[in-house]
């Protein structure tokens, strides 16, 4: 057999791809450009729309369905709680994307007709697609925490979907007095932003410390026996906020028995904890539209093909971000942004003459423990054995040089500016 050079192989690949892409002509026959509809304008959906508009805006008709007029990022919302960021600085809109030709439809997707290839909106309108990207983020399972409800979140905020809930938590945090106690109940796995609850505790402790409070306490009643960056956070809390933060795992508290938001109590097998502020973060599942469209499995999240982010339930649909089952990747904005690029590449290859490249993914999560004390974890991923698999990773070390921790923070600030431009087309 003749050995092929890489270049010849690429040419053959391009020919094969051109054959596979024959349906392109049927789109043309239907009139107009192939249609891509994106549901959800966050880290995943925004990035897909931006990518397609940048690279294939002339070849594709791109519609972004999003229920909000502006978007407050969950990532860096803890830094707003800690007075490191303003609310405005973490709030964005899609104006730059619409200026690039993306049609933004403000509305809520309520159903997907996978045979007619249309999306239904709450206003009764329908939008036809050739390829659909579903990026609805998470929905909260309020009753996963005994006694807790959506109504209770107005008293005991979860603030796990950024916006009014974030502001409510901030108001309640700022109203605390010395001697008050915060009780936080983090969610069980899998959930959005694994280090998030513990960065949030750090930022709340930072605010209490800055006010000079000596008697204020934060108790974490965790349903999990261990958590992300545990060694780093434990070391950080002891160093920065000695005596203020107490983490209690399930082998001690024995499980959350009841949350009484009005009374401000969390009852466990071990004890009943009183808090002037309760921050309750329930279990999570894929955003409602994913479930309604039958894209989820028993886990409540959406299985995908690791090579393309294509739904295993429907070949015309891609699911990215917190709603999908991304193997070793955590649910994070960085992950969603990375998955969006693989999906955009696959969509361009489906609908235009663009080349499909091997799926490669990345994630980094920075967490701020205190001023100039920022830790990070990150990894590279590739498809293996049918799932997205970690191929290399790192984590910050305990006891490392403070200069590295300070540089990490500067790095995270630069990352935020870059990724929000990559999602929304501008900061």
């Amino acid at each position: 057999m003749t050995k092929l050079t890489r270049r010849q192989f690429t040419l053959l690949g391009a020919t094969a791809l051109a054959s596979a892409a024959l349906p392109v002509f049927s789109f043309a026959q239907n009139g107009g450009k192939p249609k891509v509809v994106v549901i959800g304008g966050g880290a995943g959906g925004g990035t897909v729309a931006h990518q397609l508009a940048s690279d294939a805006g002339d070849a594709l008709d791109i519609t972004l369905i999003e229920q909000n007029e502006e978007y407050t990022t969950c990532f860096f919302s803890n830094l707003y709680l800690g007075n490191f960021r303003t609310f405005d600085s973490i709030t964005h809109n899609w104006d730059a994307l619409t200026a690039m030709g993306v049609k933004k439809v403000t509305g809520k997707a309520t159903g997907i007709d996978t045979s007619a290839k249309t999306v239904q909106l709450d206003d009764g309108s329908t939008h036809a697609y050739d390829r659909l990207v579903v990026a609805p983020g998470i929905d909260l399972i309020y009753d996963s925490v005994p006694g807790y409800s959506e109504a209770d979140s107005e008293i005991a905020p979860h603030a796990w979907q950024a916006g009014p809930q974030t502001k409510l938590l901030k108001e309640k945090l700022d109203a605390l007095e010395d001697g008050d106690q915060i009780v936080m109940v983090p969610p069980p796995n899998p959930y959005r932003c694994p280090p998030g609850p513990y960065e949030r505790v750090s930022m709340m402790a930072h605010v209490l410390k800055e006010k000079g409070f000596r008697e204020a306490r934060i108790v974490i009643l965790d349903p999990k026996p261990k958590f992300s960056k545990q060694g780093l956070f434990s070391e950080g809390w002891e160093k920065e906020y000695p005596g203020m933060v107490e983490w209690i795992g399930p082998d001690i508290h024995g499980g959350i028995k009841n949350v009484d938001a009005k009374a401000g109590t969390v009852e466990t097998d071990f004890d009943t904890f009183e808090g002037a502020l309760l921050n309750i973060v329930p279990a999570q599942k894929a955003g409602e539209i994913a479930t309604a469209a039958g894209l989820t499995d028993d886990s409540g999240f959406c299985p995908i093909d690791a090579e393309s982010m294509r739904s295993t339930m429907d070949e015309n649909i891609f699911v990215i971000g917190d709603a999908c089952i991304a193997g070793d990747m955590p649910k994070s904005a960085f992950s969603a942004n990375s998955q969006a690029k693989v999906a955009a590449n696959a969509i361009r290859a489906d609908l235009t003459d663009a080349r499909k490249f091997p799926a490669r993914y990345a994630n980094t999560c920075w967490s701020l423990i205190a001023t100039d004390n920022d830790v990070k974890v990150g990894a590279q991923y590739a498809p293996a054995d049918g799932k997205i698999t970690s191929t290399a990773s790192f984590i910050s070390q305990t006891g490392e040089d403070p200069a590295i921790r300070a540089a990490n923070y500067d790095e995270s600030v630069a990352w935020y500016e870059a990724i929000t431009k990559d999602i929304f087309g501008s900061a």
């Binding site: 960085f334 590449n345 490669r360 590279q380 910050s396």
Partner: protein
Amino acid sequence: MIDLLARKALAWAIVLFAVSDRAFASDEIDYGQVEIAIAAVGEVTADLDYGEYLAGECVSCHAVDGPKQAQIPAIAGRNREALIRAMVEYRTGFRKNKVMQTVMTTKGNEEIAALAAWYAAKER
């Protein structure tokens, strides 16, 4: 006058060194090996389409219009050889930054050549 220029140059050198991960550079790596690795990348023909795809990962942190002296510098429009050198220095562990070292563990010569060519050709 010369003395002033020399001092200015030194001051700039210190600033540029401090803002890059070369401030954390390793003194344990044999730079001769780094040079050999850089030369090997130079032998590879760059695939610009592949570079554009791979650059999707970079853009998540390196803003196209960001400042060059930020903790994460802008890299668009930079010299191709300098980009190759920086990427190889991370891959070999000469430059110390955990994110970049991890990113580069999965980048072979073909990927580095493609990225450097694409970024060098990209306007800021």
